[in-house]
Amino acid sequence: MNELELQALLPFMVLAASSLVVILLIAFRLSHTVIQISGFMMMCLTVICMWLVRDTLPREIPPLLVIDGFAAFTTGLIVFVVLAVGLFSYIYFEEREENPKEYYILLFLATLGAAVLTVSKHFISLFIGLEILSISLYGLIGYLRNRNNAVEAGLKYLMLAALTSAFLLFGMALVYLETGSMDFAVIGRHVQSSGFSVLMILGIGILLVAVGFKLAFVPFHLWAADVYQGAPPPVTAFIATASKIGVFSVLLRFGQSLGLQNEQLLQGIFSFIAIASMIVGNLLALRQQNIKRLLAYSSIAHFGYLLVAFLPGNDNGETAALFYLLSYSVTLLCAFGIITIMSGTKQDAESVSFYQGLFWKQPILAVVLSVAMLSLAGIPLTAGFPAKFMVLASGVEDSRWIPVLVLVATSVIGLYYYLRVIGILFEKPEEETAATKVLHPFFYYATYTSLTVLMLAICWLGLFPGNVIDGIRQLLQLE
């Protein structure tokens, strides 16, 4: 490994070091606040490192990793998500009795796992990344072990994730049997020269089961709602954004290097999964009374939309997918931030009726949540609109009419439940609740501010997506 390769790896090493730093800090019995702040610093350091090494990209680190513009974007997004999640975690866990310090070790490990996924170009690194991510997530989901739902959710995730790891390995083995390599590029060349054999398709199909589980595609979505509900809101935010970004980016990379979209049968499978996810996700979300479950089903639908951008397998589709991931993450962070900030010491603010009349009590929070909902619904002025627009454009450009039409029809269905939530925010408040004491003014207001900033980011992305799109295209070296 030469110096340049080491440089390119720097951000990832900082990321790995951050969980070690947290362990050390715990050993020295430092307080939650210190850990929180140093964690924040480490994440910022990661971002700075990425900025410093930007000129050395793209760089391959054979045989496992490749660090290119695409990886830089997705890793950056993941780190950005973790920054916000860390902030939400502070007020959420500080109000609860459990010792929150070990939480950060797991959080940063999971981040590392997701980040490794974005740079992997080899089955081994894919598997390592995925396992680091999943194993940390078991702990994170069940972190508040005194709660009923938490243990259930953690166990559910554990069982299914273990099962899908087995699927993943089996799929990899089948592909390896056929091609004799685990490197995406080599597999891609093999496919180019000798096409997709039955064994190959079978292997990839089994791989897809594992990936589909992580991304909660229909029909592998059964865990999603329970886990979203049982996990603490900051963790749910992490699962819904960072972990899915990691897995989706490896799917994109894998798809690009193999040209999965050119194979008739696989294309059919992808279309089917996309359509099923859009329909099932939106329909199941319609009658949910629990906002975390509602967001779980809505995120199933959103990854269905994302698959529509994946289907064409071209540059426009990739740009659209990355922009969609960005806008989706910012939006979901807003939504989960509100849930976190509204949650009391005893219970999470889960029930939709909890938010009734929020606009007249806390207008800023309500506006943030409304903007987030509108953005999820894809209404102009918010980030969701250009995102959905680009996905539609890439689908139409490739004449994928059936998925595109399903996308349109299901967005209308989806609009209903987003509007329902927004409507509840603007209802008459039920009764005057006594203002609760703000426990940690600094972090509380920091969260408040960051939510407002996130909301402004949503609007900015919605109004002026041009710069960001250009940025993405430059990173992907399309221009």
Binding site: L392, F464, P465, R473
Partner: protein, 490 residues
Amino acid sequence: MILIWLIILQLGAGILSWLLSKRDNRLAAGIALTAVIACLLLTIQLFARFRPSFAGGGQWLMEYRADWIPAFGISFHLALDGLSLAMLLLTFFLGALAVLCSWKEIRQRAGFFYFNLLWTLAGITGVFLAIDLFLFYFFWEVMLIPMFFLIYIWGDTRRRYAAIKFFLFTQAGGLLMLLSILAMVIIHAGQAGRYSFDYADLLNTTLSPGTAKLIMGGYLLAFAIKLPVVPFHNWLPDAHGEAPTAGSLILAGLLLKTGAYGIIRFVITMFPEAAASVSWWAMLAGVIGIIYGAFLAYGQTDLKRLIAYTSVSHMGFVMLGAFSFSEMAMQGVVMQLLTHGISTGALFAIAGMLKERLHTRELGRMGGMWTTMPRMGGIAMLFTMASLGLPMLGNFIAEFFILMGAFQASVPLTVIASTGLVFAALYSLRMVQKVFLGPPSVENITFDLDARELVVLGALSVSIVLLGLFPQPVFDMITNVIRNLNHTYE
């Protein structure tokens, strides 16, 4: 530059009145009124400035263009021609009256109310001005969200149902339109080698007849839902009935007009052949709307729903005229847009005033109002007459022109459509009889119009009479538009 100021002024005033409303409700209303009247004055000034050049010159009287998302060839492109000028005059006129109507009605959360009102108006302004299709779609949605809030928060008992239904219907159409826009842009990109959402560029796209029909279908459906054309009219009575007075006024007076505007500006201009091939069916849908709307209006017991159904009927004339491809009918259509906005707006304002006094919209609980409120009765009579198409009032000119024009296109349809005028007389007179004539209802301690209401209804009355007596300025305004349309007919 003035064009963009029209939009910014309203958006800014909306935010301002929201922020300042904590202190004083009246202040919020005052800011809203000032902003809309300023826009109205600006537009009148534009009218005066361009009056000599309506007949000559290029397609646009005025343009503003800035890059927005260059990667996709999307620009912030606004342009004004006679048609948009006419619609803008109507927008700000009715907008100012809508603010005046809400002066007393809205007591709670007035700041947020005026914020939504102004943002809806800004969206409508944008729809009438945008000639970049992405921008058009953008404004098309922007006007919906605040309208949703207007109905959802300040509406009547069934407001939630009505608001969500309204939004879902329009959004379904809107997304299909977005698909059509995208398909067209991508076909254009295939021919021209670059993305562009610009109206002028897309006009030059060559489409095969089959594709053109499909793409036009997407547009037409969006506009037909908005207009509304039977069978897509289902959202309208609920939304109109439950909305607060200002909401109903803007819905009926302006939002429906955006559908008609879209048909004229996009469907007929961009896809003349495809539109011609479905014209008979479109005219049939219009005629069905005229008759069916009139029948339903006659059967209503709720005053606001009754007026809502009359809109369905009157918008049938727009559909009939727009698809008859004759110059005269098109003049009538534009006239109909203006006069229907004024007359139905006035009827909704009156219904709102009645509701403020009686706290009901049920016809059964009204009656004999003329004795206590002669002024309101008189004005209501005037607008009922306008609505049923009495000569001297604007609606007569509009419907007469439409029927004349449509007669050349299809005799049987026009004959059936003409009977709509008779039905209009039936439901209108029934309404006047139930509300103002007959034995007085029990609790009859009501006050006649106060000065503010008199200003609102007076302005509407004067304008409907003026349009009826001197329609020529309107026709002058759209000479150029009609001439361009004539080129496409040939």
